[in-house]
């Protein structure tokens, strides 16, 4: 198989109006100057391939997965979609309606709705503080001209084309250079947005559409991918709950020792990329256990920051992340996405030796110090999504 990823720098972090990046990105695959969305889908699917376009927080782009033998045709289709989108108004109307429905569907998922509120508390007015869809109002307000403008600005900002799979690298490089000659390379990665953590602890209890479970998020903004503290905090996250199975202090305490939740997890650099990620603990539990679960999570976070991890915990976390490296490069799609991310961030994430050296560096003291710098238990945001109308358990 062959995986093609074309990624343009920008995304929702630079949009002037909410919803723009998502819809401008999705509209790329809704028709070009040469064919409408039906003909485009038929051209792709007659190869047994898939083509989609996307708009994310930091980029928009095109993804094509096809049989390796069809790489040339797949590359041509990716270039056509990237350079010649038609932005048809009726498809924008349809996509906006779909995105509004996605917001409703998200609201039906109590865990997702609580997570959105948690992001809002952490990121405030930054794009990551709202869903990519924006709101029903911002979706309705968008017009094709705004999408066209956003696309043109994204193209001008530059991007990267990655092709991975069972291919002849020289032939692919020649073809890609010709097909994407008009795409400038991305400039130096933009600096991360400055997002100030709240000055004091906040606690919110949004009402969800759940019938029973309570969803708890406790955490803070952490660091961007390029931050010098990133790797130390990644290790800390594994100690806290981002590792294998139910290891980690949060799942151990909340699920294994006290049986308070089916799902309990924690991370320290969740979503870190150009902009800072989140350090958080999560548990999904029942209303009668929620207070205990929340207390347990707070105690574990406070203790973790105060005492830091043990040397054994850091060693095991390091071994885990080192051992996971081959998992991230198993498939053509994974390799293509890793290469694209490397190019956007200006970091050699695709280079396994570089990643190993990064993971080898932080000591236990480094991890403890990074935690002390980046996680302040006195300023944690807590969001407790509670059922607006709880039903008795069956």
């Amino acid at each position: 198989m062959v995986a093609i990823r074309v990624v343009l720098v920008g995304g929702a972090r630079v949009e002037l109006a909410p919803s723009t990046a998502l819809l401008a990105g999705r509209l790329l695959a809704e028709g070009t100057g040469r064919r409408d969305h039906r003909a485009l889908a038929e051209a792709v699917e007659s190869l047994g391939a898939s083509l989609s376009s996307f708009g994310g927080y930091e980029s928009i782009g095109v993804a094509v997965d096809a049989l390796a033998a069809d790489w040339e045709r797949a590359l041509e289709l990716a270039a056509e979609v990237l350079f010649e989108p038609a932005f048809p108004e009726e498809r924008l109307t349809f996509l906006a309606r779909q995105a509004a429905a996605e917001l409703e569907a998200l609201a039906d998922q109590a865990d997702a709705a609580t997570a959105l509120e948690f992001s809002r508390q952490l990121y405030g007015a930054h794009a990551r503080g709202r869903p990519l869809q924006g709101s029903a109002a911002s979706l309705a307000a968008l017009d094709p001209a705004a999408c066209r403008r956003f696309h043109a600005e994204s193209l001008a900002r530059g991007g990267v084309v990655v092709v991975a799979g069972a291919i002849d690298p020289d032939a692919v490089a020649r073809a890609a250079a010709a097909a994407f000659a008009a795409l400038p390379p991305p400039a130096a990665p933009p600096p991360p947005a400055a997002i100030a953590p709240p000055r004091r602890a906040v606690r919110r209890q949004p009402a969800t559409r759940a019938r029973d479970p309570v969803h708890l998020f406790v955490g803070q903004i952490s660091v961007a991918r390029a931050d010098p503290d990133f790797t130390a905090l990644e290790l800390a996250g594994v100690v806290l709950g981002a590792g294998a199975g139910l290891t980690g202090r949060i799942p151990q305490r909340v699920r294994e020792q006290e049986g308070l939740a089916y799902h309990a997890t924690a991370e320290c650099v969740a979503g870190a990329s150009i902009d800072p990620g989140r350090a958080f603990a999560y548990a999904g539990t029942s209303p009668d256990l929620a207070a205990r679960a929340e207390r347990a999570m707070l105690e574990e976070l406070e203790r973790f920051v105060a005492e830091g991890p043990t040397a054994r915990e850091v060693d095991e976390a390091r071994a885990y992340l080192l051992g996971r490296e081959p998992f991230r490069r198993e498939t053509a799609r994974q390799r293509a996405e890793l290469e694209a991310q490397s190019a956007l961030l200006g970091l050699p994430l695709h280079d396994a030796a570089w990643v190993r050296a990064e993971l080898a560096a932080p000591s236990r003291a480094d991890v403890a110090a990074a935690l002390g710098r980046r996680l302040d238990p006195a300023r944690l945001a807590r969001v407790v999504g509670r059922p607006r109308r709880a039903l008795p358990r069956a």
Partner: protein, 424 residues
């Protein structure tokens, strides 16, 4: 004329199957695509083997397999997995229970030591059992709280009636209250024996792999109980409707009885599912999503139960859309499958997408281990190849015949609707 659709291999890698003296079947899948090895141990036991009124026992035991055995205390399996940089997980279905690990190729035998230890027996500390019961109660509540999961559970219960496939894998809270250490130990003793298991070892394997398996698991005594004889699938004979209200988005599932994967016309139904639901150009993606603009999402597929399947169509409605309109279009599309066979270009496109989908389903080493293990544990290693070939070779007339036989909702189906609560 376009080249015919490609034929992917039915199972990835080079396969070798052996049987140890204690009855354990071992399949090696040699594939050096990444420096990884996955193990997948399947026990031929699942929800269907639970005595009536004792639902959830198989799944409860799956949880307890991580809570302590002679060589690994509570939580130690996960800690060791993490320290070795691996991953593990497990699942219980109506037919099978599976445990899988993936490690770097130089340390995978750790998985064999764990599997051998917990196959020999579990600690089943009563406090740990009680704590885990509470965890499963939370898991049940999570499923019931998800509108899609809750609707699907109700539809499957109605479709299968008293048949074990109609029971929830997790059991009910009332059933779980009756299960303790003694019951779990008994279930383990009856079914967790090497002669009732299949082990797949997949990935970048050395020649010593089989010897390592023999050394770790060859000394465990056989003695599994025979599986209880399953009842025949029920005959619905009518279209049944379920309506529930949860959330604010309309959701619809139509489930029709379908033959088991080794029975005639299962493969044809798979290709029919691709014709209606795979890709933006497929019939119902166009009708309901792309052109009809009635739904946010639509999917079609077959479940894979060893005793029988269901052909399932699922749609998430756009706000304000009348579910009756979606229902009418679904029924019309199913009828058209029996009267309007696909054109050659339409069928060619579906075949190509089907083949790509098949390849992606076995892209990663752990997927290869799971797909191979399921085949070996249930219907045989040849089964996936037969199914793939039959699906890709099915002619338009054969597809239409299968559609007329199986895709007639009025002859037997369950239509489940989850409607917005605010509209009640």
């Amino acid at each position: 004329m376009a080249a015919p659709a490609p034929r992917p291999p039915a199972l990835a890698g080079a396969l070798e199957v052996d049987r140890l003296a204690n009855g354990l079947r071992v399949c090696r899948v040699v594939n050096a695509q990444a420096p990884l090895v996955s193990t997948a141990l399947f026990y031929r036991v699942g929800c269907r083997d639970e005595p009536r009124g004792r639902g959830g026992l198989a799944h409860f035991l799956e949880h307890m397999m991580f809570k302590g055995s002679a060589g690994y205390g509570p939580g130690e399996i996960d800690r060791l997995t993490q320290a070795l940089g691996g991953s593990n997980n497990a699942f219980t279905s109506h037919d099978l229970t599976a445990y899988h690990f993936t490690f770097a190729a130089d340390r995978w035998p750790a998985a064999l030591a764990i599997e051998a230890d917990r196959m020999r027996g579990l600690t089943l500390d009563p406090e740990a059992v009680a704590s885990e019961r509470q965890v499963i109660l939370e898991e049940i509540a999570m499923y019931r709280d998800d509108p899609w999961d809750a609707l699907e559970l109700d539809v499957q219960a109605e479709l299968w009636g008293d048949h074990p496939y109609g029971r929830p894998v997790l059991g009910t809270p009332e059933e779980l209250e009756g299960e303790g250490a003694e019951q779990l130990a008994g279930f383990h003793r009856r079914f967790y024996r090497p002669d009732n298991a299949v082990l797949v070892v997949a990935g970048d394997l050395e020649a010593s792999a089989l010897a390592l398996v023999e050394e770790a698991l060859g000394g465990i005594a056989p003695g599994a109980d025979p599986r209880p004889a399953p009842p025949p699938p029920p005959a619905l004979g009518e279209l049944r409707r379920i309506e529930r209200r949860q959330g604010e988005v309309g959701r619809l599932i139509l489930a029709l009885p379908a033959p088991a994967p080794d029975r005639p016309e299962h493969a044809e139904l798979r290709m029919l599912a691709a014709l209606v639901g795979l890709g933006r150009s497929s019939r119902l993606q166009r009708e309901l999503v792309e052109e009809g603009e009635l739904c946010l999402a639509f999917s079609a597929g077959l479940t894979d139960g060893a005793l029988g399947s269901s052909f399932t169509l699922a749609a998430e409605l756009l706000p304000g859309i009348d579910p009756g309109e979606v229902e009418r279009r679904l029924f019309a599309a199913l009828a058209a499958l029996g009267t309007l066979p696909p054109s050659e270009p339409e069928l060619d496109r579906a075949r190509r997408l089907f083949a790509s989908d098949w390849v992606y389903g076995q892209e990663r080493i752990h997927q290869q281990a799971l797909v191979t293990g399921q085949a070996l544990a249930e219907l045989g290693l040849e089964q996936p190849g037969r199914l793939l070939a039959r699906a890709l070779d099915a002619t338009p007339d054969e597809l239409a015949t299968a559609a007329r036989r199986w895709l007639v909702p009025e002859a037997g189906a369950v239509l489940g609707l989850s409607l917005p609560e605010s509209a009640s």
